[in-house]
């Protein structure tokens, strides 16, 4: 995949062989660097989703697939652990790494040196990349933890956007796929970067809830233990005729909704379902 036409330095006959192997190693390591840079970029893209509007699921899926692809290749190479460590120790500036990624998409025929083309970059893009590179370095401390961490992050990205607030907490409580290493990572995250604590915090915010002490939450858990969680499964409700129609509080709402209404009314069904949810919870608490 990497270019084979890189210019070679002039060398005399005696050093020719060692130069070739050196060249091969250099090309290979530059490919690895570029691949790593692509991985970093992809992870940043996954994390820095818009927090106000739901992130584009198609884009997230494509980026995640790219990350998976790189991970697989790196794991296959055996270079997964090696390269991440090398990055932390090397003093290479992030911007240099980004420029070098152009080689990754160079076709085989092109022998020219990489040009710095003037592609319009969206504002804030480069700044964020520089900042987050350092945080990514600090995260990938050990092999197993970083693998799991990345997988967790990917899933969390569109899990977070898809699930409701209540559902999110419940699911996170249930599957603890990230072990105790998570606490350490949170600590390093906060320590490593002060410039983007908001975004990292948002990604890891839910983890903090999960890892919190079970004291005050256990009472709450008991309260909700006999709640039929299917009511919170928005998907069953919303997809209508897929299975036998389940008559819940929301179905009544839908049938009550007027066939044509002015735009200002359209937004209220969300409020109504909120109130009904509250009613339902109150019923359980009251024990009626």
């Amino acid at each position: 995949m990497f270019s084979k036409g890189t210019k070679r330095k002039f060398s005399d006959g005696g050093e020719a062989i060692s130069d070739e192997s050196l060249l091969g190693a250099r090309v290979a390591s530059s490919y690895s660097l570029q691949r790593q840079s692509l991985l970093d970029m992809s992870l940043i893209k996954l994390q820095l989703c818009h927090m106000l509007v739901e992130p584009n699921l198609c884009r997230s899926v494509l980026i995640a697939n790219t990350v998976r692809q790189i991970q697989e290749e790196m794991t296959h190479d055996g270079s997964w652990h090696m390269v991440t460590e090398a990055f932390c120790s090397a003093g290479q500036s992030p911007s240099e790494r980004l420029v070098a990624t152009e080689v990754l998409c160079r076709s085989r025929e092109q022998d020219a040196e990489p040009k710095l083309f003037s592609v319009i970059s969206y504002e804030g893009c480069r700044e964020e990349e520089v900042v987050a590179d350092e945080t990514l370095c600090s995260v990938s401390v050990s092999n197993t933890v970083s693998n799991v961490c990345l997988a967790g992050r990917m899933g969390q990205c569109w899990e977070k956007s898809e699930l409701s607030g209540v559902e999110r907490d419940e699911e996170v409580l249930e599957d603890s796929r990230l072990g105790s290493g998570e606490d350490e990572e949170i600590a390093t995250e906060d320590g490593a970067s002060t410039e983007s604590p908001k975004t990292i915090g948002q990604v890891f915010g839910t983890f903090e809830i999960k890892n919190g002490s079970p004291g005050p939450d256990s009472a709450l858990e008991e309260l909700f233990s006999d709640v039929d969680t299917s009511y919170y499964d928005l998907d069953t409700m919303l997809t209508g005729m897929q299975s036998a129609p389940k008559m819940g509080p929301y179905d009544l709402l839908d049938s009550l909704a007027p066939s044509h209404s002015s735009p200002s009314i359209v937004s209220t069904p969300n409020c109504r379902s909120d109130l009904n949810e509250l009613d339902h919870i109150m019923e359980i608490i009251v024990g009626s």
Partner: protein, 455 residues
């Protein structure tokens, strides 16, 4: 010497800058945000008389073609603003604490069955059926109320009269007739009216629903590709369309470059496709970006119903519905971008969703590109042309000059080098008149209408 397509000598006949006028007045708020005017969809109606555009601010603007008058023999009808209305408003999803954008993703017209026009407009979550009707008469001479509308004093009424219809200035009213809401958890990317004129489908990232136009409180889910564990999600639905003649057939495309054709007669849930279209990947051009650029951004049936066209990042492919293993035609839109994929990934341009469209006779196809360029391909002669939609380079009634991108080596005069392309100026939405050689091209917040020049 590059020759333009023989049948298509386009001249700029009308353009409209939608910054000016109606949009601001309708919402009642002086919006200083120009991004609200970005056009997000363009669609001709079935006769081509009307052209609808939707924008990021949730507004719909409909243009109507002027009737050809005998006085102006040399010019075809021009398109003027016919109606403007606010279709969708921004909403807030309280459960997820997320905003729902009011941006109109798609507009589809219903076939005209009476004097009124109907269209479906969809944002990320809600589809609305709008009725656009004209009123050019007013009743005068009521008995019980006077012209101001106030009730007349009963003792004053001494005679009975019949109200008379008087002509008035044409008023175009848009009213929402149906609101199809709460059926999509994910963002709606497509709507398509079925050939039975009774049903339509709406597709989001993971599901496709079938609706009846009269029924708003429920829909049938006909495709569901959501995995049980969201972490296993690797593929999403990117576009869907009903077959133009067979009301039981529809297709949907995916982010992995595949198209599935389904038959609603086979099962209630069409998770198993009837046909599966995929071109095998060329192993020599494999890169980390292969999957992303294979993701299909648009799928359109030909008017004949025999072919379908798909748009991926770098090319347009025409498929014969009877052949699943490869397309019958492939057109390169901007192959020079293949070496820039990494930068385009960095600035997110690689995720841009370009649309494509057929001409009325299915002999030509059109799609957009960057730098306000758009491309047209003649399927019969295999010739293609690159044109630019910009105000600087085109004057009204002037012929459009073909453009060329220089891919390497010496740049000739009038050519543009790849590095000078403006990736912020992208043409994602284009539409072709169903019968004539009139095209509508949306360039960010400007709409360009080009038509065939009569000599």
């Amino acid at each position: 010497m590059f020759l333009p397509l023989p049948a298509l000598h386009f001249a700029l006949c009308e353009k409209s800058n939608r910054f000016l006028g109606n949009g601001h007045m309708l919402t009642g708020v002086i919006s200083s945000e120009p991004s609200a005017d970005i056009i997000s969809t363009v669609e001709f109606n079935c006769s081509g008389e009307l052209l609808a555009t939707g924008d990021k601010g949730g507004r719909v603007v409909i243009f109507q073609r002027e009737q050809e008058s005998k006085n102006r023999l040399l010019s075809r009808g021009e398109y003027n603003v016919y109606s403007t209305f606010q279709s969708h408003e921004p909403e807030f999803d309280y459960l997820k604490s997320l905003e729902i954008e009011e941006k109109i993703n798609k507009i589809r017209w219903l076939p005209q069955q009476n004097a009124a026009h109907f269209l479906l407009s969809a944002n990320d979550k809600t589809i609305k059926l709008w009725k656009i009707s004209e009123r050019d008469k007013r009743a005068e001479g009521y008995n019980l109320k006077d012209e101001d509308g106030r009730l007349r004093d009963q003792f004053r009424i001494t005679t009975l009269r019949v109200p008379v219809l008087m002509p008035m200035d044409l008023m175009v009213e848009a009213s929402p007739r149906r609101i199809f809401a709460n059926a999509h958890t994910y963002h709606i990317n497509s709507i398509s009216v079925n050939s039975d004129y009774e049903t339509y489908l709406s597709a989001d990232d993971l599901r496709i629903n079938l609706w009846h136009l009269e029924i708003t409180d429920r829909s049938f889910n006909i495709v569901d590709i959501k995995p049980a564990n969201m972490e296993e999600l690797t593929e999403v639905i990117t576009a869907a369309e009903c077959h133009p003649h067979q009301c039981n057939v529809f297709v949907y495309s995916s982010s992995k470059g595949t198209i599935r054709l389904c038959d609603t007669r086979a099962a209630a849930l069409c998770d198993r496709h009837s046909k599966f279209f995929e071109e095998p990947e060329d192993p020599s051009s494999r890169s980390f970006f292969s999957e992303i650029i294979s993701s299909i951004s648009d799928v359109k049936f030909s008017h004949s119903g025999r072919y379908m066209m798909t748009r991926d990042y770098l090319s347009v492919k025409v498929w014969d519905l009877n052949m699943e293993n490869r397309p019958v035609e492939t057109y390169q839109v901007h192959e020079y971008l293949r070496s820039k994929l990494c930068s385009l990934y960095e600035n997110d341009c690689i995720f841009d969703k370009f649309e494509c469209c057929w001409n009325g006779s299915d002999s030509a196809i059109m799609t957009g590109s960057y730098n306000n360029f758009f491309r047209m391909f003649d399927r019969n002669t295999r010739r293609d042309i690159t044109l630019e939609a910009s105000r600087e380079n085109s004057k009204p009634r002037a012929m459009l000059k073909p453009r060329k991108v220089c891919t390497g080596g010496k740049r000739k005069k009038d050519e543009i080098s790849v590095d000078s392309l403006d990736f912020n100026k992208k043409i994602l939405h284009t539409a072709w008149h169903p019968k004539e050689n009139v095209i509508a091209v949306a360039a960010t917040n400007n709409l360009y209408i080009f038509q065939d020049k009569i000599n």
